[in-house]
Every structure is written in structure tokens, then in C-alpha cells.
């Protein structure tokens, strides 16, 4: 992983407005990113299983999605060793302690509560990507990678 490498991000979120805001927020970040989006849990799983597709470095999953819930996707992904290097961010409106803990226990690295305004979103995404970059480049122990924002 080098400075000039682009960080591949996959966002699973069924809300088109949220998708748009997400993309715009990432535009303002120093680290170069490339974003793809899927709209539901089934589409997410299909995309990950496509062999001709490079896996994302970071995956953002909305907890509430049609067809397959975020938490089920999280669990399925974490049980597959092929996906062990992907950092998983649960991206949700919920601020319930129970949702946060449950996400971490099932293998999420980051719990990001959807911020209410654009500048906080930008700041939070910047933080997630920078810390993830440290884990990727400094050989830090990924099992310990828990971040709640």
C-alpha cells in the first residue's frame, strides 16, 4: 500500500441522497478514493463474490437495507476468510448502544453514526480513512481495530 494507491470503497446504502452526500464528502479528502455503491444486501453479497472484481479496502454498510439486513451481511462477510482484509464500517442512523456493540461483536471495525450535517460527515469519513490507512500501512493488529464515531 503506497501513498499513491487509490483506496477502493464500497458503500451499501439504499438511500440515493445518502449515496450522493457520501460521494461528495469523500471528494474533499486528501487520500485518493474510488467509490462504488450497491443498493441492498443481496447486491452487496453478489458484488463481493464476483471474482473479476477487486475487493474494496473499506466497506460501508447501512444497517437498514432492503432484501438483506446489514447485520446479516456483516456476519456472512466475517465468516468468509476471503474477505478478512476488508475493513468494515457500519454506517447507520441508530445511536443505540445495543446496535453499536452488536456490530463490533459481529466483526465491524468502525461504527459510524450518520452525521446530521455535511461538514461532520466529511470529517468523520476523513478520520475513518486515515485510521484505516494507518492499519493498512503500519502492520497494526486488525483484530483490535474498533472505532466508534
Amino acid at each position: 500500500m503506497y501513498r499513491n494507491e487509490v483506496i477502493r470503497i464500497l458503500l451499501a446504502d439504499d438511500d440515493p441522497d445518502d449515496q450522493l452526500l457520501f460521494r461528495e464528502a469523500l471528494d474533499g479528502i486528501k487520500i485518493k478514493t474510488q467509490v462504488e455503491t450497491v443498493e441492498n444486501g443481496l447486491e452487496l453479497m453478489n458484488q463481493l463474490h464476483q471474482h473479476d472484481h477487486l475487493l474494496p479496502h473499506i466497506l460501508f454498510i447501512d444497517l437498514n437495507m432492503p432484501l438483506k439486513q446489514g447485520i446479516d451481511c456483516l456476519q456472512e462477510i466475517r465468516r468468509n476468510p476471503a474477505f478478512q482484509d476488508i475493513a468494515i464500517v457500519i454506517y447507520s442512523t441508530s445511536s443505540m448502544e445495543r446496535d453499536i456493540e452488536e456490530s463490533f461483536v459481529r466483526g465491524a471495525n468502525v461504527y459510524l453514526q450518520k452525521p446530521n450535517d455535511f461538514s461532520s460527515l466529511k470529517k468523520a469519513l476523513g478520520e475513518v480513512i486515515t485510521i484505516n490507512w494507518q492499519y493498512q500501512t503500519c502492520g497494526l493488529n486488525r483484530d483490535n481495530f474498533l472505532l466508534s464515531l
Binding site: E101, F104, V105, Y111, W133, N141, N144, L146, L149
Partner: protein, 186 residues
Amino acid sequence: MIYFLKYDIPSICKKIIRQQMKNIGLDYQIISHTEIDIKDVISDDHLKYLNNCFQDEGVEIIETQKSILIQKIKDTIIELVNMEEKLSTVKTSEYLANKLHHRYGYLSNIFSEVTYTTIENFMILQKIERAKDLINTNEYTFTEIAWKLNYSSMAHFSLQFKNTTGLTPSAFQRIMNKKRKFAIAA
């Protein structure tokens, strides 16, 4: 009469590289006029020498030396965080400057330029990572961990832990224990 000169910059540069490399006798390949691949493993001193030769021609080896230095800064910090006795007695900036033979200001700038973080933040991140490892052993109290990592108090440690991870040390411990149980059950 004034004549204008048109240069073929890449060819001139490659010629300079070839001349310099011939003097040094290393196995190499020119990728482009801004990039060479040196096949042999070279020591720090050798690289410094090479850099000096190039500098005489107005050429500077950048990324390699920079990334080597960055790596040394990181290694030194990690080493420091893992040595309790040192952590409490030395000042990070002085320790780095003495060990790596560069001014701290220089190290600090070059580090921020390449890593998207600062030496101070990297140090905090490493201390918190070490704290996480210690917490995971379930063998130490938070007060002991705070002391081991040279925090002035448990409160200061907890605050920095929370600022870095968004979780308190006890929430982290609870989640990690649950996570382990969950992984075993699955």
C-alpha cells in the same frame, strides 16, 4: 546571432543516470528518466553515497530515502512504546532526533508529508494499540496500564483512549471479550 536550443530532457537525464550508475557498479534498470530500479540490495551508507553522486548532477533520490526514513521513525516510536523504562524517561522528539541523526523539525515535516498523520498522533495511536493488547490479556487493571504507558493518571489514559477509539477502555474490554466468545460459539 542567437540560436535556440531544444532539449530532449528524458534522454539527457537517462544519460546522467547511466554515467553515475557506471561509477558505482550496481545492477539496475532504468524504468523512466524519473525512476530506476536497483536490483542489488544496498546499505543505507551506500544509498547515501549514491544520493551524493546524483546530487552533484542536480538529481535527488527522493521517495526511497524518504520512505526508509519514515520507516525508521515508525520503528523507533514502536520500540519506544514497548519499552516502559524508556517511555517514562526520554522525550520523544529528542530521542528520535538523536537516534536518527536529523533535526526533529525535519523528521516531523517529512513524516506528516507522507503518512497523512503527525508523529505525535502516530505515537498516540501506537500507545493506544499497545494499551489494547494489554487490555486483551485481562491481566492488568486500567491503572496499571496507564502507568505502564506513562500516562499521568488513569483519567488521562481513559480520555485519550476514548478520543482515539470512541470507546472507553472498559467498553473496549467488554466488546472484545464478547467478540471472542462469539467467535468461539460460531
